[in-house]
């Protein structure tokens, strides 16, 4: 637990001082929303409610990939990753600390993106804000856990910026299907659908446990 708290503290303090990930993720996410809005035929906002969940999760997913790439790139400076891998503790706690830091940063970006999305697409999220935050949070747990694992794998490869999305995006499909479905039902009816939420919970648990266990080997050279 000492390792978990130390890594979480280190990642958040470093991010606070450099704004390395959050700014890049936020700008990319807002630009994605902007592009999606302008690619939508002007005056044809009638069917926005139907496509909004998918568009929102496109912005969340791409911005998370940007942030996850940076999460381990900062560890390469001064070979700090080797220093981290040398820690005489269960490396799963390193994963947990980094995944939670990624989750917190992604959650902030998700909030700002949802506000911007609502303004541009003329959707009022406020009646379902709490429940939408829950769905976004459950999706973000999955994105962060499996994303942290694959970011650690990709960071040692030559083409890491390309490698991470190639490895990660196919694995995110079950998360995206459930998250988009849950968001769509929520925006349409105002209630949380049981099925997609349960699926998200199971996927999150499986990804988090597998990532925790396999991280020991991921940090080996």
């Amino acid at each position: 637990m000492n390792t978990f708290a130390a890594v979480l503290w280190k990642d958040l303090v470093t991010e606070w001082r450099t704004r390395d990930r959050a700014v890049a993720m936020l700008v990319f996410s807002l630009l994605t929303v902007l592009v999606l809005r302008f690619s939508h035929p002007m005056g044809a906002l009638a069917n926005t409610d139907e496509i909004a969940p998918g568009l929102l999760w496109v912005a969340y997913t791409f911005s998370s990939v940007i942030g996850l790439n940076r999460a381990f790139a900062t560890e390469l400076e001064n070979d700090a990753l080797s220093g981290l891998a040398l820690a005489p503790s269960d490396r799963g706690w390193i994963f947990a600390g980094k995944a939670l830091a990624n989750l917190l940063i992604l959650s902030g970006v998700q909030f700002a993106t949802a506000v911007f999305f609502g303004l541009l697409f003329d959707i009022d999220f406020t009646p379902v804000a709490g429940r939408l935050a829950l769905v976004a949070g459950l999706g973000a747990v999955g994105l962060s856990s499996v994303g942290t694992l694959f970011a650690a794998i990709a960071v040692r490869t030559r083409y890491r910026e390309v490698m991470l999305p190639l490895l990660l995006l196919p694995l995110l499909i079950p998360i995206l299907l459930s998250a988009v479905r849950a968001t769509a039902v929520l925006l349409e009816s105002g209630v949380l659908p049981d099925g997609p939420i349960r699926t998200l919970l199971v996927i999150d648990a499986v990804f988090a446990i597998l990532s925790f266990i396999t991280f020991e080997y991921v940090l080996d050279e």
């Binding site: 280190k10 470093t14 001082r17 900062t74 001064n78 070979d79 080797s82 040398l86 269960d90 050279e221």
Partner: protein, 238 residues
């Protein structure tokens, strides 16, 4: 001598990266309180060996025991301090914050007093709260030394630690390495600098193409002779 009483006991260490053999059966024994220098041309396998000794990489074959520990890789990592040409430090954190972070990773008891002592010993007290990315190369390397020694490891691994240091900083590091050895810890020093290796090491290995091709004990350490062996190794691997 029992392998449990050695800082390093290695038998037949091999490492392959796909079809490329980086190490081809390295045997190594290093008692506590002794220092070992490792020389070799680029690509000889020196850094690969250091990273295996540190627990950062697994050997493809062979037996390795560090300070009596073989099976539990976590405990092996806890018995090693690593210093390389890269400082392993976070640039956005201060020197003190980097050391505090390391102390938590290693579960160092009474960390604050240990950090203060090391900062004082390494003449870093005045710079302790400056971010690492504002320190000179020599100062950052001293913080890296403090980082490597913080948990008082019985084995200190130094991989090209003189790279990028000015003359004065390199001399200070040389003194520090000897002090660490004299305090009863074992030191492995990898470098291209034959004179410094001779000044710091009790024993020197020359590695070429993943094999030990020469060994000298301290009584016979002769920089000129080592230079000749080194040059032959470099020619062989060219």
């Amino acid at each position: 001598m029992s392998s449990d009483s050695l800082a390093i006991f290695a038998r037949g260490i091999e490492k392959r990266f796909g079809h490329v053999a980086a190490l081809r059966g390295i045997d190594l024994e290093l008692p506590f309180g002794r220092s070992l220098g490792i020389l070799g041309p680029n690509g000889a396998g020196k850094s690969t060996l250091v990273r295996i000794l540190a627990g950062l990489s697994r050997p493809t074959a062979g037996q390795l025991r560090i300070a009596g520990e073989e099976k539990d890789r976590r405990r092996v990592r806890g018995r090693v301090g690593l210093l390389s040409h890269a400082t392993l430090l976070y640039p956005a954190l201060s020197a003190r914050e980097n050391l505090r972070f390391t102390a938590r990773l290693y579960g160092v008891e009474d960390a604050q007093s240990r950090i203060d002592t090391l900062l004082e010993e390494l003449a870093l007290t005045a710079a302790a709260d400056r971010r690492v990315d504002t320190l000179s190369r020599g100062m950052a390397q001293r913080v890296a030394i403090a980082r490597a020694l913080l948990h008082q490891p019985p084995l200190l691994l130094l991989d090209e630690p003189f790279t990028g240091l000015d003359v004065r900083s390199a001399e200070e590091l040389e003194v520090r390495i000897r002090a660490v050895r004299d305090a009863g810890r074992s030191v492995v020093l990898v470098s291209h600098d034959i004179e410094r290796i001779c000044a710091c090491a009790d024993r020197v290995l020359v590695i070429s193409q993943g094999r030990v091709v020469h060994t000298s004990e301290n009584a016979a350490l002769d920089p000129a002779q080592l230079r000749a062996v080194y040059d032959r190794a470099a020619e062989a691997s060219a």
